[in-house]
């Protein structure tokens, strides 16, 4: 855990942490609306979003609720992105297949990846295995982000591609990028 936290940088600092990359990339692409269902890994990012008046950011009760909100907002001219963890993504097959994909909505998702590279909860490990097959079954664009030096390129280009092609994208935040969540109790 200490190692994971050591490589994170608070968004308010000069940092080059992955959280700061997300925040700045969202800003650069005028993505202001960021509903989320939280995850331990996303804590610093969520704090940074709340601290910045550029963003309208808030928790929702379910991930699909957040998808509905950003879909409505995009159709009305405001760009958004949704933050969630792997198990939250697993609740989304219906809304992806019946709203985001067929209506051609550029749904941008950041999914912090649980269930691999040191997972301690077998249920998380299993649910993680459903994520990429669901994305692939809908031919949705997705990238697994593992390296900080590539992350801004992947995030920025993927957001731009989602918007210009009006197609959803999932950016999966690997423990290789974030440090992940490890068993500490």
């Amino acid at each position: 855990m200490a190692a994971a936290e050591a490589q994170t940088v608070s968004p308010s600092s000069q940092g080059t942490g992955w959280q700061e990359v997300v925040l700045q990339t969202l800003k650069r692409n005028d993505i202001r609306l960021v509903p989320y269902v939280p995850d331990r890994i996303l804590t610093t990012l969520i704090k940074g979003l709340h601290a910045d008046p550029f963003f309208t950011t808030f928790p929702t009760a379910r991930e699909e609720e957040a998808v509905g909100i950003v879909s409505g907002a995009w159709m009305a001219g405001m760009r958004g992105a949704v933050l969630m963890q792997t198990s939250g993504f697993a609740t989304l097959a219906n809304v992806l297949a019946s709203l985001a994909v067929p209506y051609q909505i550029p749904l941008i998702m950041f999914v912090s990846e649980r269930g691999t590279l040191g997972e301690f909860n077998y249920g998380q490990a299993l649910v993680c295995r459903t994520m990429r097959p669901v994305l692939d079954s809908l031919a949705m664009e997705h990238h697994t982000c593992t390296r900080l030096d590539e992350f801004e390129f992947i995030a920025d280009r993927s957001i731009k591609q989602a918007i210009t092609t009006q197609a959803p994208v999932a950016l999966i935040l690997s423990p290789l990028l974030t440090g992940g969540k490890v068993f500490d109790k």
């Binding site: 379910r62 699909e64 409505g72 009305a76 405001m78 019946s98 067929p102 209506y103």
Partner: protein, 204 residues
């Protein structure tokens, strides 16, 4: 048959979805956005006369209110109405608290409550005989929540919502009739026309 009518909180007239939707649409003079939830709510919205500011949801049951919230946040100057069935709302009850927290004053939520899943064969919802959706909405933080006693009261509540300082939820008890029309199921056209209607896009 309709066990919803047995709920003690429902001292209200049983109305008709298409009639109420038509009354709402007749009031719209300022390019208000209207989001129709899955099934009968958007069928009757369609049948009441297509408008460029209408959005018809063809799947994603329960997301009518969240989609409307997104529209309301993006365009705070535009009035947004959302039409949902009671069964749909039961699937996404948490959104009431989200809406209460964000409190957009340009959002009016209408729940068409017949206590049944009409479109799948009129089976009662799990809430039909016991739960009061307006009380749930109020307890979720939506202070402006009320049952419409009859059609006239519905129209009064709609008018009242326009001047409210926060979001409004209007519950209406409706009969077990199916929707009158059938929305043309072309998601891309629906979305593009809606965006044109909201002034986000220009026609090709």
């Amino acid at each position: 048959m309709n066990t919803a009518a047995n709920s003690p909180a429902r001292n209200t007239k049983v109305m008709n979805r298409f009639d109420l939707t038509s009354r709402l649409v007749a009031k719209l003079k300022h390019e208000e956005a209207v989001i129709g939830g899955i099934g009968n709510t958007n069928f009757d919205l369609w049948a009441a006369g297509h408008r460029p500011q209408n959005f018809y949801m063809l799947g994603s049951m329960g997301l009518g209110f969240p989609i409307a919230l997104g529209v309301a946040l993006a365009q705070p100057q535009r009035r947004v109405f959302a039409l949902e069935g009671d069964g749909s709302l039961l699937m996404q009850m948490g959104c009431l608290a989200t809406i209460a927290t964000l409190a957009p004053k340009n959002l009016t939520l209408i729940v068409m409550d017949n206590g049944i899943y009409q479109i799948t064969g009129a089976q009662p919802t799990p809430a039909a005989a016991v739960a009061d959706i307006v009380a749930i909405a109020a307890a979720s933080g939506l202070a402006n929540s009320a049952w419409a006693a009859d059609e006239e009261d519905f129209e009064r509540l709609v008018d009242q919502s326009l001047a409210a300082s926060g979001p409004t939820l209007i519950g209406v008890r409706i009969d077990d009739k199916p929707g009158v029309g059938a929305t043309r199921r072309d998601p891309v056209q629906i979305r593009e026309r809606f965006m044109l209607g909201l002034g986000v896009r220009e026609a090709l």
